[in-house]
């Protein structure tokens, strides 16, 4: 198995709901554990997480489900110690979930938005 094949296998596995898997193909063995509570996310979906602990502030025109965004789109601001930091999408696509409310405290790594990626990426 080469790296590419392993990656393909793992991305296929992502779509299946399991917590523990053991796969054996000839000499190749793969064991995967997954936190059961984790959501199964399609590989063509990008989750935007918070890069820092802070307070989330939505845009004047708040981002909502269905909005189409490009890589430079600002999804909101995260305020930390009175400094406002732009949350930039970094990917192109359509917003499928808004997981944060205006004024909410967010932790490092917290899921904020889900974006369905454009096909051509």
């Amino acid at each position: 198995m080469n790296v590419k094949q392993i990656n393909t296998l793992i991305s296929q596995l992502k779509k299946i709901d399991f917590t523990h898997a053991r796969i054996k193909i000839d000499d190749f063995e793969l064991e995967i554990d997954r936190d059961g509570s984790e959501q199964i996310v399609d590989s063509d979906t990008e989750v935007i997480t918070s890069p820092m602990i802070g307070i989330f502030h939505q845009n004047e025109q708040p981002i909502k489900v269905g909005d189409v965004v490009d890589k430079t789109a600002v999804l909101g601001q995260i305020e930390s110690m009175k400094l406002y930091n732009e949350l930039v999408a970094g990917v192109e696509g359509q917003i499928t979930k808004v997981l944060v409310a205006d004024g909410a405290a967010v932790e490092f790594g917290q899921n904020l938005f889900e974006i369905e990626l454009n096909e051509d990426i």
């Binding site: 820092m52 602990i53 802070g54 307070i55 930390s80 110690m81 400094l83 405290a105 932790e107 490092f108 790594g109 917290q110």
Partner: protein
């Protein structure tokens, strides 16, 4: 009393601080990095915030992130524990600006003592004996002159070092220039400051330190002394309370030196003044303006809970008797079980400790061990009527410890306890490095 305190640390000390807060009905807020998500201290706290990724600079040393957690959780005070931001004057100022009380001394005192050269100068100005040496020195010719006068071997120390870090030993004049350049370079990259000074090597010395606490008005009380002579590569391995190698008169002399150093300074919170004892004289080494790893042995012999006392004093409750040192009974010994951390992640498959002695740890069976932070796995603290009784208890306790999944220094600790020189209380700060026990070679590589 405080309503809510943020614990700006991880591992065993975070657990220990949370327990003290719980005893006083203070709510606790933990901050953690992504790899510590499932750690014991995160589970123990009333609230917890993920503040960054695994590298300490991104999380536990990230001033803004730690403070932001305190602002969001609306805490009254921050306890830094030891390490990380515990001696960061700038962080203390930031806390003050946010109206959050810092559980420690003022930022100016932290800065004064944090710069080891300025601390030496300050101690000397207060009439406390310092180790013969220089102030900050830069000129090559002056360094050569001063070094020749001091004699070899000597130590080059980084001003911003301390805690055994940033020290270079020079044995011959021919090595001096090279070592000075090396020391300056290393100090610049490690502490963002290249200042160095020279110090004489005190041979056959023992390390003794005085635990103090200051109330909000800066009255100082001495809580006890500790013998931390047994070190490997200048890192403490075994600590004892009280120090049994000094006489009552010497203890009074030390107490006087500490008051001379700190009375009227306005010192608040816990602190430790460290001395080297050599040829019947004490020399000021450095002061740590925070809680120390080995505070537990002082608690074992005095019956005090020093963190509880600190929280009470800092909230304006309770009083200290600056004239009296608490009575200490028996002898307490602490052994630090440390892990040999590889770059790889390990799993603590087995971790069993005796139930009848004090064990401070942040880990439990099944925990992931990551290479990002310090190597301390657990502190075993025993107390006996005599030093020998305490040693026997430690021998028993260590024999009951079961660890698998990661290499530790457990065998080294057992060999120290079984060692005749150790049992006879006949050793110096160099003894372990000089090969007191045979395990030494393999464990310091």
């Amino acid at each position: 009393m405080f309503k809510k305190v943020l614990i700006a640390n991880r591992g065993e000390i975070a657990c220990r601080l949370i327990r003290a807060c719980q005893q006083l009905n203070i709510k606790t807020v933990a901050v953690y990095s992504t790899v510590d998500k499932d750690a014991t201290f995160v589970q123990m706290a009333d609230e917890a915030f993920c503040i960054g990724s695994s590298a300490a600079t991104a999380s536990y040393l990230n001033r803004e992130a730690v403070l932001m957690a305190g602002v969001i959780a609306n805490v009254d005070a921050i306890h830094p524990g030891y390490g990380f931001l515990a001696e960061d004057g700038m962080f203390v100022q930031m806390c003050e600006q946010c109206g959050i009380q810092w559980l420690g001394p003022r930022s100016e005192i932290i800065a004064l003592m944090g710069d080891k050269a300025s601390a030496r100068k300050f101690a000397a100005s207060r009439g406390v004996a310092i180790i013969p040496g220089t102030q900050v020195i830069d000129d090559t010719e002056k360094i050569t002159v001063a070094a020749t006068k001091l004699g070899f071997p000597l130590l080059i120390k980084a001003s911003r070092g301390g805690g055994g870090k940033g020290i270079k030993k020079v044995t011959r004049l021919e090595e001096l220039d090279n070592m000075v350049q090396l020391a300056k370079g290393e100090s610049q990259s490690a502490f963002a400051n290249g200042e160095i000074y020279l110090e004489k090597v005190l041979t056959q010395a023992r390390h003794i330190e005085i635990q103090i606490i200051g109330d909000q008005k800066g009255h100082i009380q001495i809580l006890g002394d500790r013998d931390c002579t047994l070190q490997i590569g200048r890192q403490k391995v075994i600590e004892e309370s009280t120090a049994t190698f000094i006489t009552g008169a010497q203890r009074r002399e030390l107490g006087q030196a500490v008051h001379q150093l700190l009375d009227g300074v306005g010192y608040q919170g816990l602190g430790t003044v460290e001395f080297l004892f050599c040829e019947d004289r004490f020399y000021f080494l450095e002061m740590n303006t925070r809680l120390q790893v080995e505070h537990g042995v002082t608690e074992a012999t005095s019956g005090l809970d020093v963190v509880l006392l600190q929280l009470q004093l800092a909230s304006g409750q309770g009083k200290i008797a600056s004239e009296n040192t608490p009575t200490h009974s028996g002898v307490a010994i602490e052994a630090r079980i440390t892990m040999n951390l590889n770059s790889k992640e390990a799993r603590l498959d087995t971790f069993e400790v005796p139930a009848d002695v004090r064990v401070d740890t942040g880990y439990q069976t099944g925990d992931k061990i990551t290479p990002y932070y310090d190597a301390l796995l657990a502190k075993i603290i025993v107390h006996g009527e005599t030093r020998m009784a305490a040693i026997q208890k430690m021998q028993q306790a260590l024999s009951e410890v079961r660890i698998s999944g990661i290499d530790t220094n457990l065998e080294l600790l057992q060999q120290i306890m079984d060692n005749t020189k150790y049992q006879q209380n006949s050793f110096t700060i160099e003894t372990l490095d000089a090969g007191m026990v045979k395990q030494y070679e393999s464990l310091t590589s």
